[in-house]
């Protein structure tokens, strides 16, 4: 038997007018490293990072499931409101988590839609953060939303899982890409669509990111060369708008570096963590 060091817990959190029962898990000690999962997925995507001693000896790694995702419940009366994530709600929720856990100047790492909201966090909360690591970060990503993401004649889980499976690099280990497939197949009806609403319709950070001060909040941007959702060029545009931002294009990686090929991803991630740790 192998017992992993990851420990999961629940917390009840009030954000705005609603109360949420939230699942989070953590491992390690040191600088808080808060991890944000991708659209329609959950914190399991960070399981490799949370068992990497090279990271957990320096960082307290925490990953939580957004409401509606994984083991976090939607708020009460969820059945009376269509799930649509917004920039405002996503930011407020993420900030509420680090405040509830009393995390002191955390580093926030997020992928895809998480890679988008970390940019907004660095705009609005740069005094509260040590840094952000944007995985597959774009400041503007229109065109993702379509009505088939939540349609009675289509199996939404299989569609989202098959679609996102193609976002992995062809070189990534098959078992890892399939693990992400499995996670994606498990989202609630309309949750992936609701997340894409944020990422593709509500989110536009092109002007705001120019105000990020990297002397206050470090910015590292890592994007896989095979990511066709957030292409390397899209992240290059983000990096060009933020003086002092570090940019890494990851060879042989797609849209889900932390789960599709962790051994390769960590080679890119560790220097960025070291850079932020030295700050």
């Amino acid at each position: 038997m192998t017992l992993e060091p990851i420990v999961g817990r629940y917390m009840t959190l009030r954000v705005g007018d609603a109360e949420y029962r939230i699942y989070f898990e953590e491992a390690g000690e040191g600088i808080p490293l808060l991890c944000l999962h991708t659209a329609g997925a959950d914190s399991r995507q960070y399981r490799h990072l949370m068992t990497d001693e090279a990271i957990t000896k320096h960082f307290r790694v925490i990953a939580f499931d957004l409401p509606y995702h994984g083991r976090s419940n939607p708020p009460d009366r969820w059945w009376l409101e269509k799930y649509r994530l917004t920039t405002k709600a996503y930011l407020a929720f993420t900030r509420a988590v680090w405040q509830a856990l009393a995390l002191d100047r955390p580093v926030v790492v997020g992928c895809s839609m998480g890679g988008a909201i970390v940019l907004k966090l660095a705009v609005d909360c740069q005094q509260e953060l040590r840094g952000i690591i944007g995985l597959e970060s774009s400041a503007f990503a229109p065109g993702r939303y379509n009505d088939f993401l939540h349609h009675p004649a289509i199996h939404g889980g299989e569609l989202a899982a098959s679609y996102t499976y193609g976002l992995c690099a062809p070189q990534s280990p098959e078992s890892s890409a399939r693990e992400n497939w499995w996670y994606y197949s498990q989202a609630g009806p309309g949750v992936y669509a609701g997340d894409v609403h944020f990422y593709s319709i509500d989110w536009d950070g092109r002007e705001a990111i120019k105000t990020i001060d990297t002397s206050l909040c470090k910015v590292s941007l890592l994007t896989g060369e095979y990511d066709y959702s957030c292409t390397p060029d899209m992240t290059r545009q983000v990096a060009a708008a933020i003086p002092g931002a570090r940019l890494v294009i990851m060879k042989g990686i797609g849209h889900f570096p932390m789960i599709e090929n962790y051994p390769l991803f960590r080679e890119y991630l560790l220097p960025e963590l070291e850079f932020i740790r030295a700050f």
């Binding site: 004649a153 289509i154 199996h155 299989e158 569609l159 899982a161 098959s162 679609y163 976002l167």
Partner: protein, 127 residues
Amino acid sequence: MFNEAWLTHFQQRLNADPEMAVIGDWFTVSISLSCDEERRVLRFERGRLVQTILTPKLDAPCAFGFRANADIWRRFFSDPPEPLYHDVFAMLMRVPGFVLEGDTLVAMQHARAMHRAMKVMRTVTPS
């Protein structure tokens, strides 16, 4: 691009695919593959490719299909594939000349099996 020998090779490869044997129960549909002026129809039944039609006429209906020029298809079949050409969904989003024709609802209903069939197809390089 999609000559008779290639179609036979793809048929053998797909019908021997253990994953399609698991997921293909509902994959009963005809699709077209088009390259420039060339068009083929492939008829699937329960995940097996049971008929390939080299010169489809009016009596060879199909629900949906993929159309591109020879250069795009060649890049799809390259090994290792270049980014944006490595997956059918990547091409649908990023390669304007790669077109999903026909009933897109049916295509997305079959997303899993369709995606698998196209992934197996990538392993059969046209001559």
